[in-house]
């Protein structure tokens, strides 16, 4: 098993160039799905290897319930630096489990509370219009999902722009974007190196919903105006929380993309572009990570089976 057990812990680094480049050259739907799939596979492999290290680490602790043979030299030689790595892995796996559990709990608790809050409304339709002077619009996942939009947000948009906003939120619900975002969040808990993917996936789902809204309204400029006006109105309502950044934030990038041409539908970027290379690196990293973790799991299984007294 050797070094293979450590590889999947660092291979998420290979996905980072893809996270940066996917949004520029892929259709947002492909980008969101591809990045989520990569994040989930890399997180799964990383957690599996952490689990293997935990088995080796636990077997060395005094008073552990595992078979005595599992702490033999043959098993320990299979893992380089087994003493430190084993103990560190126990702590890390506990942190991963705790992080994932608290993420899931927080997600479902917030959703349940939001649905409970909306329950007394007289309308049970998809759109929940809330009289509020703070402009906001959110898609609340659930069965059925709801769209929460404040009266002041609608007031600043024309009827056609309101349709674009609602189409955007409906696209979030219909595409079940919250599942991709939750998966990205859990992957970030499993391996902190995957956290930058969450930002990229979140941006891709927004762009995806923008494209759906543009298709629905049949007018890209109208959709761009709806996004831009909503952002400017929200900005006026809320004091700026951070200082100026040189790079353009997500909203101007979305508006600029909507003002540009329809993104191509092709699934895989051309090979000899920077995105093509980044996609290749990410795919290779994911494949190596999967093979390494399976190799390590199989090797440990064989070693442990040999060490288990029958």
């Amino acid at each position: 098993m050797g070094v293979f057990v450590y590889l999947p812990l660092v291979l998420p680094l290979t996905a980072l160039p893809m996270a940066r480049l996917a949004e520029q050259h892929l259709h947002p739907r492909s980008a969101a799905r591809l990045l989520t799939a990569i994040a989930v596979i890399l997180a799964g492999c990383s957690t599996l290897c952490l689990g293997l290290l935990v088995v080796v680490g636990t077997a060395q602790l005094p008073g552990n319930p595992l078979p005595d043979g599992w702490s033999d030299d043959e098993v320990r030689e299979a893992v380089p630096h087994d003493r430190i790595a084993g103990k560190a892995a126990i702590v890390a796996l506990a942190a991963v489990a705790l992080g994932c559990a608290s993420t899931l709990w927080g997600h479902y608790r917030f959703r349940a509370r939001a649905h409970r809050t909306l329950a007394p409304l007289s309308t049970t339709g998809e759109v929940a219009l809330l009289p509020d002077e703070v402009p906001y619009a959110y898609a609340l996942p659930g069965s059925p999902g709801r769209i929460m939009v404040s009266s002041s947000m609608l007031a600043c948009l024309t009827a056609a722009e309101q349709q674009a906003l609602l189409a955007h939120e409906r696209a979030h619900l219909a595409g079940r974007h919250h599942r991709l975002l939750l998966a990205a969040q859990l992957a970030g808990c499993a391996n902190p190196l995957l956290r930058p993917l969450r930002t990229a996936i979140s941006y891709s789902t927004e762009r995806w919903a923008d494209e759906e809204a543009a298709l629905h309204t049949g007018d890209r400029r109208l959709t761009a105006r709806a996004v831009g006006k909503a952002a400017l109105v929200s900005h006026r309502a809320a004091a700026p929380a951070f200082a100026a950044f040189a790079a353009a934030g997500p909203v101007p990038r979305r508006v600029a993309a909507l003002l540009g041409p329809v993104p191509p539908e092709r699934g895989w970027p051309p090979a000899l572009t920077s995105t093509g290379i980044a996609a290749f690196v990410a795919a290779a990293g994911t494949a190596v990570s999967t093979l390494s973790s399976l190799n390590a799991a199989f090797a440990l299984f064989v070693v442990l089976e040999a060490a288990t007294p029958l």
């Binding site: 947000m153 761009a224 105006r225 006006k229 900005h235 934030g249 909203v251």
Partner: protein
């Protein structure tokens, strides 16, 4: 407290609220909570003499909106679950956005002035 108060059809004294709450709170506790709600602008106080009359600031949808606002203000939980239609802008973003929209057509300039005036 707000839902009890929401059942009232007219401004009511604090004792009315206290009788209808199952929690068995003392009169002074009810007054304290009502005063806190007053600070949060969730209720209004009226009547110059005694007893002081209370009523919820909004009813029905308004009350739901106040509760939802409170839930949405928990930014960490909110951002983990909900995708906002638009995210925050930096000052640089704002300028960039304005120039993008101005390029996109004259409709924007007119409607945005309307929105800022309203």
């Amino acid at each position: 407290m707000l839902s009890v108060l929401g059942e009232a059809t007219e401004p009511v004294p604090a004792t009315w609220v206290q009788e209808r709450l199952d929690a068995g709170l003392s009169y002074s506790t009810v007054i304290t909570i009502l005063t806190r709600l007053l600070d949060k602008k969730a209720v209004t106080r009226s009547g110059s003499g005694r007893p002081v009359l209370w009523q919820p600031m909004a009813n029905g949808a308004g009350l739901t909106a106040i509760r939802m606002r409170r839930l949405l203000d928990q930014r960490h939980d909110r951002d983990a679950v909900l995708s906002s239609f638009v995210s925050a802008l930096s000052p640089h973003d704002e300028d960039l956005l304005r120039s993008l929209l101005n390029e996109s057509g004259p409709e924007f300039r007119d409607s945005s002035t309307d929105a800022s005036e309203s």
